[in-house]
């Protein structure tokens, strides 16, 4: 696992104010199936991805994180249906081509979606070997893409651009002639990332991009990805179940449980001072590399069955601090004291006593890159 003390990016690279939103998700609900059999995978989710920032989306399997991301670009697998909500894409393309202005993704027709997809919002999936078409070469898959989105390119241009992109992720141009099965998992994922960047998108959805890779490759690819982010300035929605990974990469982290966003905070705040018992549990799933040995706690029980959610707070059966109120009323996401953070937990509402574990002080400014970002600094200045 990665230590949180990663080399910090220069704080001056970040704007002092909150960056403008590029992808706004409001009240999004997604069901799988229809009618009485429908299972709600995502319920009433709000998420704002800001220009050039990395938003981490964490949670266990089945918490709805991938569904949320795929719904935002209308790529849900059957029988997924979006039942409510709004997804606004504020487009300000890097290239000459590409749509401008705010696009209502849920109302957009196929042709509008086609102009947005990949050229403005691209996707990297967990298993690159599955994400690449097995019967055509890597080069042909770049070619496909450029042929559609860059009609002015000649054959030569397309080849050169593909070679340039592979070079960007540390691969040689002769790999364009390879078939996906001839490359390793790491190579495939690099090729996929190169492809995702081919059209200079404003947003990349990274759906567990490194989960299928070994830790060394994982590290290399993440560093490369973040380097490219600094260079190209795209925003990323990084989905993972590995919270410790996000702490290093993300500006902001949202934690999902049973289809709802339960806590949202700047990365360092969330890591050093979690407010949600579930987040606390997730953080204690990973052994720390430094510091004294601590017993691992993890989270007792298993993720909830979305067909029969517990009453009240969906997490209460697994929560060691659950109160009577948690069994009856569902907590809503409410702003919390501290820098730009929200939590949905009754422990932080009213006169409940907050457990010591959930009351760590906000981390100091120098604790890592994310804490030095605009919102955190602004919040500290106010105090």
């Amino acid at each position: 696992m990665m230590a949180p003390e990663a080399p910090a990016r220069t704080p001056s690279a970040k704007p002092a104010q909150l960056a403008e939103p590029v992808l706004e998700i409001r009240g999004l609900c997604v069901d799988y199936g229809y009618g009485a059999d429908a299972v709600s995978a995502v319920v009433d989710c709000d998420l704002v991805l800001r220009r050039g920032e990395v938003m981490g989306l964490a949670g266990e399997s089945g918490s709805g994180k991938s569904t949320l991301a795929m719904a935002a670009i209308r790529l849900l697998r059957s029988p997924g249906v979006i039942t409510a909500g709004e997804v606004l894409f504020h487009s300000r393309p890097f290239s000459e081509e590409g749509p401008r202005g705010t696009i209502d993704m849920l109302a957009a027709n196929d042709s509008v979606l086609r102009t947005v997809r990949w050229s403005e919002i691209s996707v990297v999936l967990q298993s690159a070997l599955n994400a690449l078409n097995p019967v055509i070469t890597i080069g042909a898959q770049f070619d496909d893409l450029l042929r559609v989105h860059r009609p002015s390119f000649s054959n030569r241009d397309r080849w050169n651009r593909s070679a340039e992109l592979l070079d960007m992720v540390g691969m040689t141009a002769d790999r364009l002639r390879s078939y996906p099965h001839e490359l390793s998992g790491g190579m495939c994922q690099r090729a996929m990332i190169a492809m995702a960047l081919a059209l200079e998108p404003q947003v990349i959805l990274l759906d567990e991009p490194t989960t299928a890779l070994d830790v060394v490759t994982q590290r290399e690819i993440l560093e490369e990805l973040m380097g490219l982010r600094d260079q190209l300035g795209f925003a990323a929605l990084f989905i993972t179940h590995d919270l410790s990974l996000l702490v290093e990469l993300a500006d902001e982290i949202a934690v999902m449980y049973a289809g709802r966003v339960m806590e949202r905070a700047p990365a360092a705040s969330l890591f050093h001072a979690p407010r949600l018992p579930y987040t606390y549990g997730l953080l204690n799933c990973f052994p720390p590399m430094h510091g004294p040995r601590r017993p691992m706690e993890g989270i007792p029980g298993s993720p909830p069955d979305l067909r029969v959610l517990p009453t009240g707070c969906a997490f209460h059966p697994r929560c060691r601090w659950a109160m009577e109120r948690c069994r009856q009323e569902r907590p809503v996401l409410r702003p919390l004291g501290g820098p730009n953070r929200e939590v949905a937990c009754w422990l932080h509402a009213g006169d409940a006593t907050i457990p010591r574990e959930l009351a760590h002080p906000e981390p100091p400014a120098a604790a890592g890159r994310p804490a030095a970002t605009g919102p955190a600094r602004a919040a500290r200045a106010r105090r």
């Binding site: 670009i73 790529l75 697998r77 997809r117 050229s119 999936l125 099965h181 001839e182």
Partner: protein, 333 residues
Amino acid sequence: MRLLLRRLSFYVIAAWVALTISFFLPRVMPGNPVQEAISRATQSGVCNLECVNAIRLELGFGVHTSIWVQYLQFWGNLFHGDLGSSWTQGNQPVATLIAQYLPWTIGLLGAATVISFVLGTLIGIVMGWLRGSWLDWLMPVATLFQAIPYFLLALVLTMFFGETAHMLHLLPSSGGYDVYTVAPGMNWPYLWSIVTHAVLPAATVVLASMAGFILGMRNQMITTMDEDFVLVARAKGLPRRRVVWYAARNAMLPSVSNFSIAISLVVAGQLLVELVFNYPGIGYHLFKAVEDLDYVLVQGIFLVIVVVVLVANLLADLVYVLIDPRARQEAAG
């Protein structure tokens, strides 16, 4: 290349087994050609002892050779290209006879198989892509056609569309061409007659075999559409045609590798279809030869069927290697 050699050696073994069976099988059937010939001779007159002996000699039964020696002779002759001669067809060489029958079967079978494979695959792709749409009513229809035996379908088609039937006098339902009104040769009436006579048998083979291709392709297509690379193709904003192609190209792979199983079923079905329609191909004549205990002709026709099926298999193998780069690598390695 190594793959090709490996496959070829497999085909040689398969051919040997099939031909050996085709040699022994008629010989363990009840009755023998001599009895058959004698009974034919008695039908046209009295067959005395002299006549019986003549028949025995003519059929090579005068000398008693063991079945193993006959088997070796059979292979020896085969390697010399000698398939023997058929006593029921006026002692014509079997090779000549087969050369007459084969074009009918190959023409009908080839056309029917290609139409059925191409059409079935296309319909399967569309049905898989539009899963859940009105096209799904084709599913039970396809299942029905898959379950109907070839000969039954042939009879039903004859009943509805055949000239000799009482419902619609649309198409000829017997023979390869109209032997009474047209003369064989390169003339339009003859060719037209061939086409009209082929419609019903071909339709039978196409309808009965296409269902399998449709159902297989549809299921494969549905599975493939859930693959990540199809999702990525959509995410890439590729035009719909291109996305369908991504899925179809991959979904086709099992279809092609199942083709070898399918083709033997089609060939078997074709034999029955030829019987029903009195179509002058090898299936019809195989049946006649078996009835007449004409061992030599049976063996010759078996040989041809074996070769046709194996060649079709080999072609399917080669196509598979062409369309799947993973198999290509295996083939090279």
